[in-house]
């Protein structure tokens, strides 16, 4: 299962992580985001120890969403060594996301 990120744990869990981190910026009002939910969980399971995968509810955690300029969801951002290295907007397949994480 994907982990839950929020404004309070973002720095520690995402920016200070020793592994790459995929953050799914989502909100309950967004249909394509809800469709992506189970896909993100599968990515989290299949990627294993290579990377950390989690979700951030932008409705409850506006600070993080604003900091990274998220104005369209679903947006997936991959962080490596605390830096935004890849930003993908719109629903994606599990394989696309796995591929992005494996190719880092």
């Amino acid at each position: 299962m994907a982990v839950e990120f929020n404004d309070a744990n973002f720095e520690k869990e995402v920016l200070e992580s020793d592994k790459p981190v995929l953050v799914d910026f989502w909100a309950p009002w967004c249909g394509p985001c809800q469709m992506m939910g189970p896909v993100i969980d599968e990515v989290a399971t299949e990627i294993g120890e290579i990377a950390k995968v989690g979700k951030l509810n932008v409705d409850e955690n506006q600070e993080s969403a604003q900091k990274y300029g998220v104005m369209s969801i679903p947006t997936m951002i991959i962080f490596k060594d605390g830096k935004n290295v890849k930003q993908i907007i719109g629903a994606q397949s599990k394989d696309t996301l796995l591929g992005e994480l494996k190719n880092l």
Partner: protein, 307 residues
């Protein structure tokens, strides 16, 4: 399983593909559905209030109900992206981003994509104030100024939805009359937050790090600047027919697949249903997509039985 020839591959998992699968399952047609996003464009619709039997629900809710209905009947949904279709002995082979599948018949229901404006600024500010999904991104513009481009049902729905959050909504339409369903017209006119700009086109979208203004062109050749924080593009859709064009399928002047009343295309063995076809008198709705899917499935059953 790869290598095995199925009766039918349904490409696309929106209302047309899922509607077809219900009938295919009941007619015991051995089939799979290949679709990147179950529900397709339906997931992006704010409210569905014209689908028989459901007075009001979100597009995602209706898509979820359709998906579970289909899966409860035993159909398999492969969440993959189809890349090409090739003619093989006895049918077709579909290659996806994950593998390949063979079937005697193909039902093509991959729908349409949002039409782009093709103006300066559109690509640069996508995700930075430019959006093609008002239900997804509308709430980011609480108490902000937004514009919507378009004059059809999607534009009208987006304007009404955005007026719930935004400080002001400017609806930009190039014609002198909106083409949306009359049911929306009164609500648009009665909403004090919504201003309609008729006979205006979009010249470009500008800003620093995010959208800050849209430049409109009027019929007299002049330009007007509207300060906004976000712009939603709802100017219709373009058919995703590339895979079939490579096989030489016939399309109309707008690129929609020419289909007969039995949903067959100009290529024997390939059928089409939903927003991508010329059927249902061009009335592209969830209910007509599902109905075209049903018609196609039954015709495919008849053809499979003949041989």
């Amino acid at each position: 399983m790869e290598g095995e020839i199925k009766d039918l591959i349904i490409l696309g998992a929106g209302p047309a593909g899922l509607g077809a699968s219900i009938y295919a399952s009941r007619y015991k047609i051995d089939h799979i559905i290949i679709g990147k996003e179950p529900g397709g464009y339906l997931n992006e619709i704010h409210k569905i209030e014209n689908y028989l039997g459901f007075e009001s629900l979100t597009g995602f809710e209706l898509a979820s109900k359709m998906r579970s209905h289909v899966e409860n009947l035993g159909a398999k949904l492969q969440q993959e992206t189809a890349l090409r279709i090739e003619k093989i002995d006895g049918g077709f082979e579909v290659t996806t981003d994950k593998g390949s599948y063979k079937a005697k018949k193909i039902l093509y229901t991959v729908g349409t994509s949002a039409r782009r404006l093709d103006v300066p600024g559109e690509k640069e500010f996508f995700g930075k104030g430019i959006s093609y999904c008002s239900t997804c991104d509308g709430p980011f513009f609480k108490n902000k100024k937004v514009a919507i481009v378009g004059g059809g049902d999607s534009a009208a729905m987006a304007a009404l939805m955005l007026a719930e959050y935004a400080e002001s909504v400017t609806l930009i339409h190039r014609g002198d009359e909106l083409s949306c369903m009359p049911v929306y017209l009164d609500s648009l006119r009665d909403n004090s937050k919504i201003k309609i700009e008729y006979n205006k086109g979009v010249s470009r979208i500008e800003g620093e790090n995010a959208v800050e203004r849209v430049i409109l062109s009027n019929k007299e050749g002049g330009e007007e600047v509207v300060e906004i924080n976000g712009i939603f593009i709802e100017i219709g859709s373009v058919p995703n027919q590339k895979m079939l064009l490579e096989l030489g399928v016939e399309v109309d002047d707008k690129g929609f697949l020419k289909t007969k009343p039995d949903q067959s295309t100009s290529i024997e063995g390939i059928y089409a249903a939903g927003d991508i076809t010329t059927n249902s008198n061009g009335f592209r709705q969830v209910i007509t997509a599902a109905a075209e899917g049903a018609v196609a499935a039954v015709e495919i059953f008849r053809k499979l039985k003949e041989k």
